[in-house]
Symmetry: C2
Subunit: 340 residues, 2 copies
Amino acid sequence: MPASSSKINMADVARRAGVSMATASRALANHPHVAAATRARVLAAAEALSYVVSPEASRLAGGATDRVGVVVPHISRWFFAAMLDGLESVLRDADLDVLLYHVGDATDRHNFFRRLPARRKVDALVVLGMPVDDPERERLELMGVHIVAAGGQIERYPCVSIDDLAAGRQAVDHLVFLGHRRIGMIATLDPAQPDWPATPGRGRAYHAALTDAGIPIDPALTVTVPWGGVNGADAMSRLLSLREPPTAVYAHSDEVAFGAVRTLRRAGLRIPEDISVVGIDDHPLAELADLTTVAQPVRRQGELAGRMVLSLLSGEATGDGITVPTRLVIRGSTAPPSRG
Amino acid sequence: MPASSSKINMADVARRAGVSMATASRALANHPHVAAATRARVLAAAEALSYVVSPEASRLAGGATDRVGVVVPHISRWFFAAMLDGLESVLRDADLDVLLYHVGDATDRHNFFRRLPARRKVDALVVLGMPVDDPERERLELMGVHIVAAGGQIERYPCVSIDDLAAGRQAVDHLVFLGHRRIGMIATLDPAQPDWPATPGRGRAYHAALTDAGIPIDPALTVTVPWGGVNGADAMSRLLSLREPPTAVYAHSDEVAFGAVRTLRRAGLRIPEDISVVGIDDHPLAELADLTTVAQPVRRQGELAGRMVLSLLSGEATGDGITVPTRLVIRGSTAPPSRG
DNA sequence: CTCCGCTTTGGAAGCGTTTCCGGAGGTCCA
DNA sequence: TGGACCTCCGGAAACGCTTCCAAAGCGGAG
């Protein structure tokens, strides 16, 4: 039992390599101005002793934490989980640890931003699908914490996301193209941030598409509900109870569309013969449900956000943001309306 | 601009409170043998200076990291994400930070366990739905890292999970009770750990239930596929191509069942009139899909795992594990067979 | 041949806590 | 009244690293 295994430190490595601690530190940290041979000797010694630098000591002495925080409003939603997946893979490959923070409502968020930077726990922060206001941002930058946004429509920060307006247009234009003129919309809002419409672009797209097609906008055809499948089902019920129900429905997200489909099926309506349904996201189950949708590369967005963090940490300037493309995926839930 | 705000340390607090650093440290850490008045004075000083102890320094000097790691085989699957959600909420309430590690195949896992404990990055580790072998466990315990398992069938470690055998029986017994005698099973395996059947209990349940009901077991009625919706669809196709297809299907998880449903619908079969389908998990979309399933409290399991970590960290002994109950949820995807 | 400047290395001063050790004062009982 | 013991507190030594400052070695320009 190598009882020493837990006590070896950089001094041991330095001794074994026949150099000073200063040199050992430089070699291990890949600093310049270390002779190749020396560096190799140090690395070999470290390997032999299976030595790893103590993150705490390193950080205390001025190094980086090698940790990045991720702030998520809803951990268990597919969208965020998939994003997190991509993000984590990139960060892990770069030997960075991922600290996960769930931040629900505005109060949570406020507390979070107040406490986190206190003693730098992370080198960078990735904020998924929620806003960051100026004071918060300033505070973080002051403490040397970089910040990247993803999956939201945050304009003022380095950010990777889709173009919600374009995505929405792909969905609604598809319905218009099929000949629908009475098109319902199920918009969603985040229950945790009720005052902040989750995806305003998707709503604007609806109006723009109808206007462009010369279709008058009937406010009764828009229903806004908190995100979620059952709420989507409720929304659809409301739409069905209209004197003149829509012949097609545009849901802001696939999960909501699934709910709508349930309602329609229970009402005995056939999809797409009696009514068309289109969603956004391309949730993995959308394929199984045969749902027409607008696909967005979710995991990829997480990866890109990770890359962004990496370049930020390495001092490179990043562009102001990346917009990833979306793509209409036509499946069996949409068809021309049966009657004019 | 309080330029000093980022430089205040415990010495400042101690000075302001008129005590030594030793006392300040004890007061802040809630140690005994500190006069109440003194403690109050220190706390007030800390508050006034909005001081927070440096985790790095604290750890370096012998404290805890106040971090716990979570190891997950698949971040974006609902099951793991939901578990993570519950876990994070408990841990965050206890002021512990959550480090997220995605570990895919066996190689990943090996590397992970080799590297992690090197320099204690965490006080405890929660392993979600994957095995931990004895050497790994020993190593961790040696380094003072506690370990808790969840969502798996790991018997030898403090662990929270459902009883897979019981859950499977609830599903299959239900089909038997309805009068089905020709029951198919879609079993899954984890693509990342092909040699380690994901949920052996669910398979055993099938055999036990049929045997108890005096139904002979036809190996052709069992199809094993990698986890996932599309694979579930494939499996169902294979089952349908049998000379004598089943009148009911038991899928090891809801996502897989969704795939099966798709295949059945495409084949023009009605559910439940022509064929019954039952899953396990009670995925949020199962309700929308009207799928009969066996519900398990996923988020709750995460919370319980979190509590377990908490008591482990506070030195309390935990029982060897917690088994949470499952519950059959009968929806519209199951019914008696149409013909004997 | 000397001086300048560059690369490479070592010494040592922190970084901000925790905790061991010891001392001061007070209480309680014989 | 004199220990024995306990509570409360301060001094100072770690903890393991990074980096500033200097110094040593060496090549080439003048």
